[in-house]
Symmetry: C2
Subunit: 256 residues, 2 copies
């Protein structure tokens, strides 16, 4: 009997027990057969980091009809690499879905995000990939409003595919009802006031990451930050080619 259901790889950066990934699994069980490969604990802010200095483990923690769950000691990108190498070695998944992240990955946060690191890795490997994030760090956040949006975006991506080298960064505002979906570009900005300096019990200084996002274009209505502030779901198509093609000609004086 041939199983024609889509094969979906799910991962995240908050770890296999996080509420966000478990909500995502339940949401997508009606859409296809699911394999979860997720970190064994939190890996927020891991970007596209890979683990080369220690060996990785891959342990199955659950298996039932249409659902297999594995955990690893690696990063989100390691999860995708291990899954493709070890579990999907016969045929790639039809889609890679990362999230639902507890916290925004809009604007420049895509650069630091493990959730989006995993989506970019899928994209590098030529597999349609989407990252989902909800703009609250609450561990017990209410994800219920995201359900129909996720199913419709995932179904669309499975049906139409994505252009080579392009993946989607989807963020949900922390409101109970969304105004709709807006296609956006990444807002320009950066983090500021990034450390709390203090002294440990032994009299040594330490610095703990904190910080506030500074949006450099708060009035630009085509950005993800604007859409989220207005209550829309933001969708930013992202690409893995980081070349600034339009700048190449500006550096010909360096060429020799």
């Amino acid at each position: 009997m041939l199983n024609n259901r889509p094969r979906i790889l799910i991962t995240n950066d908050d770890g296999v027990t996080a509420k966000g990934i478990n909500f995502l699994v339940e949401t997508l069980r009606t859409v296809g057969d699911i394999v979860v490969v997720a970190p064994d604990g939190p890996r927020s802010g891991q970007s596209s980091a890979i683990t080369s200095n220690v060996p990785l483990r891959l342990n199955r923690v659950k298996t039932e009809e249409g659902l297999d769950i594995y955990k690893t000691n690696g990063t989100p990108v390691d999860c995708v690499k291990l899954a493709l190498h070890q579990i999907f070695s016969d045929r790639n998944p039809d889609i890679i879905v990362s999230g639902i992240n507890h916290g925004s990955n809009a604007a420049i946060s895509i650069v630091y995000s493990g959730t989006m690191g995993a989506a970019l890795e899928g994209c590098i490997m030529g597999i349609p990939s989407v990252g989902f994030s909800l703009c609250t760090f609450d561990h017990d956040a209410d994800f219920s409003a995201t359900d129909s949006y996720i199913r419709s975006i995932v179904a669309d991506v499975i049906n139409r595919g994505l252009d080579n080298g392009v993946c989607l960064n989807v963020n949900f505002p922390a409101v109970n009802e969304y105004k709709g979906v807006k296609l956006c570009r990444q807002a320009r900005g950066h983090w500021t006031q990034e450390y709390r300096k203090d002294v440990d019990p032994f009299g040594q200084d330490y610095y703990w990451l904190q910080g506030f996002f500074q949006n450099l274009e708060p009035d630009a209505e085509d950005t993800d930050e604007w859409a989220l502030k207005e209550g829309y779901v933001s969708v930013v198509p992202c690409k893995v080619d980081m070349t600034c093609h339009e700048s190449i000609s500006k550096f010909v004086h360096l060429q020799k």
Copy 2:
């Protein structure tokens, strides 16, 4: 007495004792006053990862005329953030230079590279930033041929600046003499055969990262991989805006 010498922040991902960063420091001492903030050990493959689950330390290990060296327990991006927050809180450095990395950061390696993570972080903060890499993993590599190229590129970037949101990814081929400098785009490709599977002394499977870069366009003469193969120094202007602007209009059907 006003000191008008350029202020240069140097970091890397191979750690503060690596030969590459120490060569870079010696090369740039004639160009300006140098502050090094580098990881206390290897952080290869750390991409743009940031540390939020443990406090960071910042310890000065050397100070002499025109040179201060600090080490931290953080990632390359943490090094840049800590340096800007704690050491350059009065005025930003004129340039951030990352490297010289032991190993190529051409093509898709920019995504995983801690060296380029640090350069991108500088770029996000609006500071002209350049990453340098030599295409050999040899810990005792000979960096001498890079000297005049690095001084000329760094001087040019200090003098002209870089466009907002753009930094440079510079790779040196592993040859004794370079044919010249080529402005390039990032070659398309990905890593393959990425794990060595084995069994530990306790009978448990483990997976250790390895892999080979597969260049998907080996004949494209405008790519960094081609330039390096031909013996040129490759320079790729990279941008932190990951939006695929040309794709936004393709997803209007998702908008509602």
